[in-house]
Symmetry: D2
Subunit: 148 residues, 4 copies
């Protein structure tokens, strides 16, 4: 990556606004595990309602985890006063996700003034070298107020 | 569209397997409203947990509705014995969705032997001429058993 | 669509900047056939170099036509002084395109102040009811100068 | 990645079918620089016709390079007898590409029996640590003949 990314917020500061903005998190455990330059690691705790027939996690559960990871990495780097809005999300499902926590690693590909582009690598807890899905997405960033 | 699409299942037959496969539907009302050639209309009932700060529906709620509409239109046209699996989903968020039922219209763009491609138009109930999101996606279709 | 779209430029005014910005058009005929509210129709003339083995058009030829149609519909509605830049393009290939002109119909899904979202329906000339590809994409729009 | 990828063809064997299948390569230099497990590096040589006003490369040039890199990495791993067809391509443009050769690194995310999923990292020659675009895409793989 060409850009040097510098986080402004740590995992604890990032987690609460995401919990507030991801109401479904009320139905599952959600943790921002770490923030590093250009990267956020989040975990979505497994719950039985996430299963679909065949014993794999439902697709929307992975999309929810990916959306949270994108939001986490952006929030960490632009600061919590800004209201970023998902513009686009593209997911490829790669292998059947077993009933386990979902680990989502959000990475900034570009952080512009008005648009941020991310990728998210999704894995199952306990199977760290296998991707279950790959996501790219963009977020529209609000204009900063003139005085800030 | 060039292909002539002929539904094999009606809305009632399509709805139950989707409820089973979309466990989050336990937390919200979900109805397959109609099936027509190449088209499925589904409704995801509004619940308070779907809201995010600012009073709009969370993005994953729209993805869940879109995924269900894609699944409905495919299931209706390939028959319930087949286990279709989402391969890819791409969503563009177009306007802020107000707190209301989500109406998702799934349309087949192509139904091949191994891959189906769909688009989904998402609207808010009571505001029928406004798109809140647009989705395209593809489903991998299983090989038919030799005897069928 | 909820938004009422009003074109500012006609097909003739839109065509020249696209020819300038799509240098490959030097290798193929390119025409903006019509502009209507929210819609632009463009045609990319068939040339032998567009073929790939098997006698179908190469994928990048369809992407080039789609990109031109997106640019045409946006330019027509924001005016030529603005320098829109493609942010994202997503294409699903639906059927094998025969050796013929490509007709691309660009439609605005949303025209915001900073981002425009479009879809493009791609067909082969002479086979008007069959889609060969479906595209969605977004364009970043520059900030207007303060005086305008 | 969980899958262990083993190339079947080297760069020389991969290059010719891509040149044949990418007719626009006649207008620009195209080289498969290397093949490694799960990865293909390709280079699209800069030509003046690739420029758009403002002095940057036209978007379709990057899509062409990405499509070639996806095709290269798949061909290298499934063997040249198979006719893979692009099913879907999604590109995010990240920074303005200067007038220089385009380096595209195609990586397999999943190689299934019927579908391959890749990502492509695009850079400008001489600026190796900066991404100009990011692509994901899927290819439909033909059924193998029963005897093979």
């Amino acid at each position: 990556m060409s850009q040097a990314f510098t986080p402004l917020l740590d995992a604890t500061r990032v987690e609460q606004p995401i919990r507030d903005g991801l109401p479904m998190s009320a139905f599952g455990g959600f943790v921002v595990e770490s923030i590093a330059p250009g990267v956020a690691q989040v975990r979505l705790g497994y719950r039985d309602w996430m299963l679909r027939p065949g014993g794999t996690l439902a697709g929307p559960v992975l999309m929810m985890a990916a959306d949270a990871a994108m939001y986490a990495v952006i929030l960490a780097h632009v600061g919590e006063q800004l209201l970023a809005v998902t513009s686009n999300l593209n997911i490829h499902f790669l292998s059947k996700p077993k009933p386990a926590d979902v680990l989502a690693e959000g990475r900034l590909l570009r952080l512009g003034k008005r648009l941020a582009v991310c990728e998210v690598l999704l894995r199952s807890a306990g199977d760290d070298d296998s991707l279950i899905a790959h996501v790219t997405g963009s977020y529209a960033l609000p204009a900063k107020p003139p005085s800030s």
